[in-house]
Amino acid sequence: MSDIELWALIFTVLTFSLYIGIAFRTRVKDTEGFYVAGHGVPAAANGAAIAADWMSAASFISMAGLISFLGFDGAIYLLGWTGGYVLLALLLAPYLRKFGKYTVPDFVGDRYSESARAVAVVAAVFVSFTYVAGQMAGVGIVFSRFIGVTITTGVIIGMCVVVIYAVLGGMKGITWTQVAQYSVLIIAYLIPAWAIAARLTDVPVPQISFGEIATTLDQLQTDFGLSSYTEPFTNRPMQDVFFVALALMIGTAGLPHIIVRFYTTPSVRAARYSAGWALLFIALLYTTAPAVAVFSKTNLLEDVANQPWSERPDWIRNWEATGLMGFEDANGNGLVDSITSNPETAPGELVVSPDIMVLANPEIAGLPAPVVGLVAAGGLAAALSTASGLLLVIGSAIGHDLYYKRFRPEATEKQRLAAGRIAIGGAVLVAGYFGVNPPGFVAQVVAFAFGLAAASFFPIIVLGIFWKKTNAVGAVSGLVTGLTLTALYMYMTLYGGMEPWFGISPEGIGAIGAIINFAVTITVSNLTAPPSDDIQLLIEEVRHPRLGGEAVRLPDSERVTSGPS
């Protein structure tokens, strides 16, 4: 066992024991604790939990590398995956918290109709499963790369840990483990970034110092025949950057596993602040990632560009062994003449997996083995925290919305809790299966899940809160039209051989789908009868900020009364 494997193992065992310890301390006995952590999570802790929930294996491992190959246009991820929180904080979070239920389908069902609830359950489960399969696969990959076990063993270990804390503690266990996982992943991300910033520049704060390196990189890229790094719209046209960023933002605001986290705060006020904390914690990583992208791309180009492959440095030799880097001397001159991250779309002699940019960072910076081990623990924390949040959404959609709300409204508290536990347990098994045998389309579907979420949930929830006349017929027609057109466009451009319209890629079409959804919902609602008085009262109640302050009868007598009763 190498030093790196040993340290990765040590950190993994340490952090996993921490997560399991938290699970035993946060066991729950009732459904309110299980689904919404008893509405007792303080704003800052909820912010950290949201941040961990949100930042997946992809954010931690892949994003900086993707940006480093996109240059300026990588801003679609940075803008798209942060800007959505402004929409979430201003338009959704406080109101959904006021509504005070357990799940997103709960809101859709009470606000519109039972058939709308059923559609929402299907959409929530579909979006979450496509996501969670990727996380489980991520756990397996980190295990196999850093600790040297097979991917299957890695997935099974990850499943066992998630089962322990999700089934025992439900949302409460997941929340407090996510707080711990956030701490682990952010430390693991920032330490190598700071060290590398200190090595390359005089300022050890990567956010500030990568400016001067970016200018060096511009020069390196142009010398190497690539486009200047900071020049906009070299990889995607301006309108596409615009629409992809918009689709990712609206999609973020419509993702069920993020929305449910706002139900866990003690007050509406805390829901507003937790959105702020969440984005602050996310921004720590998201402002560092573009710096990491610039640093590692610069290092890579300085080490290999136009140089003989036979004289490559040791860190490249190490990563070559993992299959994440490969060199084919197309013109036989022994030099590295071109680089690509995706040989299918752009040919290049040196093929580099974007993941390497974060994983190899500590080695490039010459940091000792324990830091590399920490990065492994950070990647696992990122993958596990997102997986558990998604599993809870699946568990609650099945245990709460389907079993309790639809089939067994007479179920006792005990049966409901058991149903929630069984649903999460089952979801872990399915997720684990997809983690070991990932369906080929997963990677693509995850990117498009945002577009689908943007075109479906966001418009009808926003209109449901802010426009009383929105009715069930309008919402369902809007949702179905938005979703169908978006999915159809994605399918036609990806598999049907259709040329994208106006240069808008399938990742960006969700923004248009959302606009269509808004338009259809408004038109149809205007043409049909407004919703009943009960529902109009519900909206009044949701828009009134104080919890339990107004004595308004809700359509559902089961409503959990909040406040210190």
Binding site: A75, A89, L90, T215, E231, P266, R269, R272, T287
Partner: protein
């Protein structure tokens, strides 16, 4: 609404106008070592987003108090309940 609209306009200006639509001309200007358009797109806009949410939360605190719907006591009372063992 009077709180939200100016904040959403700021969100759109930083996230879309400065970071994307005007990125090319702004890149001619240098700001703490960065081309300005690039800085807005990969740093500045994110910082502004964080600030916007906190400004919103603060302003809503004031609005809640103005209309006497603030829930300070409810929140802290709840915390007390939790601290005393989670049972009310």
């Amino acid at each position: 609404m009077r709180v939200k609209v100016p904040l959403l306009v700021t969100w759109a200006i930083f996230g879309y106008v400065l970071a994307i639509l005007l990125a090319e001309p702004l890149n001619e200007i240098t700001f703490i070592g960065f081309p300005l358009g690039f800085w807005f797109a990969q740093q500045g806009a994110i910082v502004v987003f964080v600030a916007l949410i906190f400004i919103y939360a603060k302003r809503m605190d004031r609005v809640d108090e103005e209309f006497d719907v603030h829930e300070e006591e409810l929140g802290s009372a709840r915390k007390r309940v939790q601290r005393s063992g989670g049972r009310a």
